[in-house]
Amino acid sequence: MYGGKLPRRLKEAKYAIEQLMVDYFELWPFIKCPDGSRSEVIFEIVNWEQMSEIAAFGGFPTRYPHWRFGMEYNELSKGYAYGLQKIYEMVINNNPPFAYLLEANKMVDQKIVMPHVYAHCDFFFNNRFFKKSDRNALNMFANHAKKIDRIIENQGEEKVERWIDICLSLETLIDFNADAIVVHEKSVEKSAEETKEKSWDGRLPTKEYMDNFINPPEELEAQKKKIEETAEKEKEKERGLLFPPTPERDVMLFLAENSPLEPWQKEIFLIVREEAYYFVPQAQTKILNEGWATFWHSRAIAEIGVDEEIIDAADHTAGTMATTLYRINPYKLGRELLEDVVVRWDSHRRGKIYEECDDRTILEHWEAFVAFKNIYEDFGDSPEKLRKKWNEFLCFWKAVKEGRCDFPNAIYDLDRLLRHWHYYNTIEECLIEFEKSISDRFRLISDLNKKLQKVKNDGYTKGIEHYELAISLVKNYIKRLRRRKRVFMSLRKIQNEFNRGALSPEPFPLPDSFFLHAKKYPGKLEIGRGLKKIFEIRNIYQDTTAIDEFLTKELCKELRLFVFGRNPEKKLYEVTSKEFQAIKEALLLGLVNCGCPDIRVVNGNYNNRGELLLKHRFYGVEIFMVKTKLVMENIYKIYHNTINIETVIDNKPKRFSFDGKDFKEENI
């Protein structure tokens, strides 16, 4: 479509990497096509101008004409020209997915970028927030462009441009939490049963520490009053006097259906709205998606190896994960979050048993404690058996630490100790699995060899290359499996050595507190679940829920996060807090509702004069009135009636109105 096809070296690398990501890491970056086959990832090489162009267009080359794309392009190409930023790749969520690689990337860059691409595709196709995403968006954008071009022919460029400017300023006034876009033909009226509010004290369900954020006390007071008023409103609803029946989050939809618009205006308005909805899942999962991709490309590089290019590889990774003091880097935050989850779910650094532990010895030797805890659960009733198994653990620990019995010392890591202990205790099963895997692959190779022979006889050169490549890939895979198998073999050797009594234990005195703590929290601890957990995250979480659940105090400290804000008297920005709660709240402020204030249509017939009343749900942070007023002017050009908005400024509830000429401000 755009650029050049992959040259031979990269094509080979692509197949190797695909096999690595799918077979070895068990990602699934594919969509099932109707005929049962799976979609390919299509790679194309582009130069930096084309890359900037694709990025400026949001990934889709045919968009309606508008200066914002030009502006975006100007910034991106300047950023590249001055060495400020470099886009290495772009992945388009489509069926089939398109991935663009920068022509100027060195081979080592492409080796990092391609696994990154596969991980992105895997995320797009498995995360539930993309389930209803249009995988044929190329067509949608092209159709929109065609429609708008036609309208321009009839109405004129400037008129249309000014109208699009107005529509775009309402892009954030949509329902970010909707599962999918509500098609505009649907009626706004809902049945009375649907909208009946059950008896409720006004609290939204939330975790304790989130409480003040989601349920600020002033808001609760207001809610209580509201509940009383709701009874009144129910009566009004039944009389058909409330319009809309419940506050409408999809302000754009409300305006589309209730404003005096000419057909061409409405058409453009709905196009802008549809496109805004298309990008919502991507905005809601930016951190997880980039984190996911970075997580896997790091693992891939470790497997593929880069030899002399290691400096460039490190440079590349450092570049994508660089932080400037003022901005959170989604790649870094996402990846660190996922790595942290892996460690915590591998070593059970979670749940009450961990959070309520304040004994320093236990915390400093957590891995040993977890191993002990499970042994205690198994043999708690027989102190002799317990001691024996504990001794075995200590011998195992020392052996792997020192690299005895061919255990590759390079992979010894406290983080993975428990996982290896788990393997140690299930050696035979693991080895059987490996044998099966390897023999499967050998069978595959002999199949391929047969096909290769046939193709050689036919003299079909392209086929020969293809099969030779496939065979070499499988051989590589077997090599990898064998490497892993060697680890297991050494674990088995360690086991044998222990049984012979030839090992000595790690000198670690068993503290009494271990017993006490283990007794306090009954139940075995599940270990080694780290990778499984992040696959779960990939499937069902978005940025807000992931940060809410998985961000910890320790991670904030490790990442050196802080909250900063403006000091109006000193006219500068300064650090305001390093408290975990504050950091989390500030992060979520920028993520909930895609970082936009909660604005809803409360009344379409305000003052009984057909005025529009919007309400800003105030949770502690003010909206920017200067810009809001500009938006109100725009909404006026759509609704053609006075626009009112209720919000809180300087701790006072106020109502601002715009009647087409002047602004008024009232205290409520």
Partner: protein
């Protein structure tokens, strides 16, 4: 290379230029905001062009991350908020400042349109420029005697490499290249304008003690815009600087703006040096001459009657020779500002003489209109 984005990019530039025009008045007063990029480009900061959205206000909390060993503590400043109102520049949250690159020509066009300045016409014979041809170009057709062998070979090589599907198999030391007709390149000529019949600007400034930093800044801005406007009309402009107190010296640009002496002022010294230079080097019949004098209006009022001398020099020699002679009086708390009155009273109805007064930075805009309007 033509791209799909060119349409939108062009539209964006158009909007940007419109913005520059709107901001021009502000810009003229604050010349230091304009950055020069190489010979031809200027970089102008303008407020970000954006679509307004309902967002949180600038007092909202942000999350930042410590970099390297850096781990800021509560109360540490992160960065300043220069606009004092709506957010800072650079990495900080808030409004961006958009930096636009324009060529000098584009800037001059916007300048001219906004100030509604008439085009400057060269005087008399001076708009004759001679063109010469020099064989510095390349084209695809031509006589065999003009073949450019190196280029032709390069084209052929390029074609051979590109059309070979297995680029890896080519041995760089041994590629069979055949030069065919479409590969051939030939020398051709480019047309060059002769520098004769161009223009020269003389900037003169009173550098006595009464001209402070603020005044010099104003002069700097005035010089910048005069330069932009004149360069737009004349290719190959020369600029010369004369500074004076009681004696005049020709200097380079740096010295011109950075020297300060404390002493008396004799404006005639500058005018005299100016006249000498014109006589020696720039024949008024062949050159478009522009002179601009900046001072705080304080002239030697002792015996010798320097004012008279100045007027004589102007009437008899300078004004007949120049296209424009501009006197710009910059207000200074130390100067008397009398000279401007002398000029206004004694030189009337002369289209060459332009007189302007600048009280502060914001008046630069009007003064430029007076000089060129």
């Amino acid at each position: 290379m033509a791209q799909r984005i060119d349409r939108d990019l062009g539209r964006f530039y158009k909007i940007v230029k419109g913005r520059v025009r709107k901001e021009l008045k502000k810009l003229i007063g604050r010349g230091e905001m304009i950055g020069r990029k190489g010979r031809d480009l200027v970089s102008i900061p303008i407020p970000q062009i954006e679509i307004p959205h309902i967002v949180y206000g600038p007092n909202r909390p942000h999350v930042g991350q410590g970099v390297g060993k850096n781990d800021p503590a509560v109360g540490d400043p992160i960065g300043s908020d220069p606009n004092g109102g709506n957010g800072g520049a650079g990495n900080l949250p808030g409004r961006h400042i958009l930096e636009v690159d324009l060529t000098m020509d584009e800037l001059a066009e916007i300048f001219g349109k906004e100030l509604k300045l008439p085009e400057l016409k060269p005087k008399g014979k001076k708009n004759l420029t001679t063109e010469t041809d020099r064989y510095t170009g390349i084209r695809r057709v031509g006589p065999s005697g003009m073949t450019q062998k190196k280029r032709s070979f390069r084209e052929a090589l390029q074609r051979t490499v590109l059309s070979n599907p297995n680029e890896e198999e080519l041995d760089p030391a041994d590629i069979p290249v055949v030069i065919s007709r479409p590969d051939k390149r030939f020398r051709s000529w480019n047309v060059y304008q002769d520098k004769r019949g161009a223009a020269v600007i003389f900037f003169m400034m009173d550098i006595s003690g009464s001209m402070g930093d603020e005044q010099v800044d104003i002069v700097r801005s005035e010089c910048f815009w005069i330069d932009v406007w004149l360069r737009h009309h004349f290719k190959g402009i020369e600029v010369r600087y004369i500074m004076h107190d009681a004696v005049a010296y020709e200097v380079d640009r740096g010295t011109f703006f950075h020297t300060r002496v404390s002493g008396g002022t004799k404006i005639s010294s500058a005018y005299e040096l100016f006249w000498i230079k014109i006589k020696e080097l720039y024949k008024p019949e062949e050159w478009n001459i522009f002179g601009f004098h900046f001072s705080d209006g304080d002239n030697w009022s002792g015996e010798g009657q320097d004012d008279e001398k100045c007027l004589k020099l102007l009437r008899d020699h300078i004004l007949p020779a120049c296209n424009i002679f501009g006197y710009v009086q910059v207000h200074s708390p130390y100067g008397s500002g009398a000279f401007i009155k002398t000029l206004r009273d004694n030189i009337k109805n002369n289209p060459v003489m332009k007189i302007a007064e600048v009280k502060d930075k914001d008046a630069i805009y009007t003064s430029l209109k007076e000089l060129f309007g």
